[in-house]
């Protein structure tokens, strides 16, 4: 075990799932899933289609409420918290089926997220007081910065629904980053990207962790992407956790191979 990993192991868990469970009618979409993510991790969540990965994200971000079990962010229990509260605490996400604010420009999309922690009051916005104007300017400047990081500054004024798919995915990441999260959840960020784009995205995600100090949890079907990027991986199948560990362990785990082969990949 290298020093870096040892330090990480000592640091506090950012996110903990403890026997998290949710059922829809008779279907356990996620059942007794437990794992924890340390600060600074690049953590992967994989599994065949319908395994319950996106549902895990929904449990963490408060879209769904767990039927049983606990989701903890640091020491705070997230069960039953509203999504916007959870975002405020420092968890931001992207969506598998892109959910941008489609008729708004790329910049506006990011500004919405960036206004999360603004201090100027609603009244000052309605009366267009200097405090609101100034803060809006600052948020916009930060949003432009983020667009630059995601290589999107040239399309800031384009309506987000008019963007090509890959750029929409990157814009979603920029938008999530704008809320200044501690933990960033990415749901299949490389889906629909060509190898070059995906390569570049890998570098960007690493940069988000290293430079911006975010902890990242990502879902991805592209094994090369996950294995190259993530330091720890949890594998779900039919809602249950079947394996966890480093990329090498996962690659050679017979259960994982079976889960994927059973699906005839």
């Amino acid at each position: 075990m290298g020093l870096a990993e040892e330090v990480r192991g000592l640091s506090q868990a950012v996110l903990t799932l403890d026997k998290a469970t949710i059922r829809f009618g008779g279907l356990f979409a996620v059942r007794d899933v437990s794992f924890s993510i340390q600060s600074g991790d690049l953590f992967g969540l994989i599994g065949p289609n319908g395994a319950g990965k996106t549902t895990c994200f929904n449990l963490i971000t408060g879209v769904y409420k767990p039927t049983a079990g606990v989701v903890k962010f640091g020491d705070t229990v997230l069960n039953g918290q509203a999504p916007n509260r959870i975002c405020e605490m420092g968890i931001a996400r992207t969506f598998q089926n892109i959910r941008l604010f489609s008729s708004m420009s790329a910049l506006e999309n990011v500004v919405v997220a960036g206004s999360l922690r603004q201090k100027s009051s609603f009244i000052s916005a309605l009366s267009y007081l200097p405090s609101a104007i100034k803060e809006t300017g600052e948020i916009r400047a930060r949003a432009l910065e983020l667009l630059k990081v995601m290589d999107l500054e040239d399309i800031a004024d384009v309506r987000s629904c008019d963007l090509p798919y890959g750029k929409q995915r990157r814009l979603e990441i920029a938008r999530a980053m704008a809320t200044d999260p501690t933990l960033l959840l990415l749901d299949e960020p490389a889906a629909g990207m060509n190898p070059q784009e995906s390569e570049q995205l890998m570098r960007t995600v690493r940069r988000i962790r290293d430079e911006f100090g975010k902890t990242v949890l990502l879902i991805e079907h592209d094994m090369k992407f996950v294995m190259n990027l993530c330091e720890r991986i949890v594998v779900l199948d039919h809602g249950v956790e079947i394996a966890s560990g480093g990329p090498a362990e996962i690659r050679n785990n017979p259960k994982v191979i079976e889960a994927y082969l059973g699906e005839a990949v």
């Binding site: 829809f24 996106t54 929904n58 879209v63 969506f95």
Partner: protein, 389 residues
């Protein structure tokens, strides 16, 4: 509190069953209209605001057909057996046609636009038919069917609890007396040559008769109040029976025919159904035909069988809104739900009248609606869908 109010308003608990039955009769009409809303919502996820106007046009069709058949004369009873079904079929046909036209030329072009566009169109069409109808349809003075075609306006009384025996006996003995005095008075009156003032004996006989009759009326009222009875206008009973019959046909069509199966499939999942080779357009047309024809039937019957009803271009506004509420109450998209919701709506309204808040009758629908949506958004028989993320 509420109970206090009941007594203060002089609520008569004996009239409760009558009101409930009344509610069910009216409720069956709401149910009939609600089916149209629910089926269209089921396949298109569209609140067809113009459904009430489809209903209104059904009533006008019945009116025109009655004019065609009878002109200005009062309709003779022995013609009803063929005239009423003709009016019914005409209303159903015209309403179905209107429904199909609206769908084909206003809703279908917008099917791929955001849903709000169809909703706004539906509102616009509803207004267009209401106010545009004012220009072309007879509205002033409000025409009606049942002044000329007046089938079965008498009513039947059923006793759930017969009147108290002594009171009933007293009434019947008084009835005999009233008949006797009436006869005596009439005989005396016919003895008076025309053009002459009746003499004092005749006047005395008349006073006798009036006294006896008043006593009889009073005793009859007391006897009636001591029992629990339900009075049903025969016309409304016919309406109820026909409604149930139409619903049975609908159930058969939806459950056991190819088009019905297609309709249920589209209703379950529009996109998959079209991918599975179901002709979505013809299914939607079929849905509009069914729903609109039912509304037409309801309109013909309400305009003909409920006494005192007048027709204007807003004829469908309130029934439409209430039927919509009924559909939501039962769980929109759910066919048995619409029937249940309709009946409940009717009963709820009757109860409000019974309690003495008749002025607020029309607000009840909306209160129910808001209540349902707040506490059980999926309705009684439906289930609220969670959006998949």
């Amino acid at each position: 509190m509420a109970v206090d109010h009941l007594f203060a308003a002089g609520v008569n608990f004996g009239s409760l069953p009558a009101q409930v039955v009344n509610g069910i009769l009216i409720g069956s009409l709401y149910a009939l209209i609600a089916l149209g809303y629910t089926m269209v919502y089921g396949v298109l996820r569209l609140i067809n605001f113009a459904h009430g106007e489809v209903y209104m046009l059904g009533a006008y069709t019945a009116l025109f057909v009655s004019w065609l058949i009878y002109g200005n004369q009062v309709a003779p009873v022995h013609t009803f057996w063929w005239a009423l079904p003709t009016m019914l079929l005409a209303s159903m046909t015209v309403s179905a046609l209107v429904g199909v036209i609206l769908e084909r030329f206003a809703y279908r072009p917008l099917r791929n636009e955001p849903r709000i566009a169809s909703l706004i169109t539906a509102i616009g069409l509803s207004l267009l038919l209401q106010f545009g109808g004012q220009l072309f349809l007879p509205v002033a003075p409000p025409p009606n069917i049942n002044a000329k075609v007046n089938p079965y306006s008498d009513s039947m009384t059923f006793y759930l609890k017969p009147p108290a025996k002594p009171l009933a006996d007293k009434a019947s003995s008084l009835e005999a007396e009233a008949t006797a005095t009436e006869k005596a008075y009439n005989e005396a009156l016919s003895g008076v040559p025309s053009g002459e003032e009746p003499g004092p004996t005749v006047t005395a006989l008349r006073n006798n008769y009036f006294e006896a009759r008043n006593a009889y009326e009073e005793a009859k009222g007391a006897a009636a109040n001591s029992g629990v009875s339900v009075t049903i206008p025969k016309g409304q009973l016919i309406m109820f029976v026909v409604t149930m019959f139409l619903m049975a046909i609908l159930r058969h069509l939806v459950m056991f025919t190819k088009q019905g199966r297609a309709m249920r499939a589209v209703s379950h999942d529009f996109d998959s159904a079209s991918l599975m080779g179901i002709n979505v357009n013809s299914t939607v047309t079929f849905t509009f035909i069914l729903g609109s024809a039912l509304a037409g039937a309801g309109a013909m019957m309400s305009a003909t069988f409920i006494s005192g009803v007048k027709i204007d271009t807003f004829y469908g506004l309130l029934p439409g809104v209430k039927a919509f509420v009924a559909a939501v109450l039962g769980g929109i998209g759910n066919i048995p739900g619409a029937v249940l919701g309709g009946l409940l709506m009717g009963v709820a309204e009757s109860l409000v009248i019974w309690v003495g808040w008749g002025d607020y009758k029309d607000a009840v629908a909306f209160l129910i609606l808001i209540g349902v949506l707040m506490f059980r958004p999926g309705g009684l028989l439906g289930s609220a869908k969670v959006e998949k993320v």
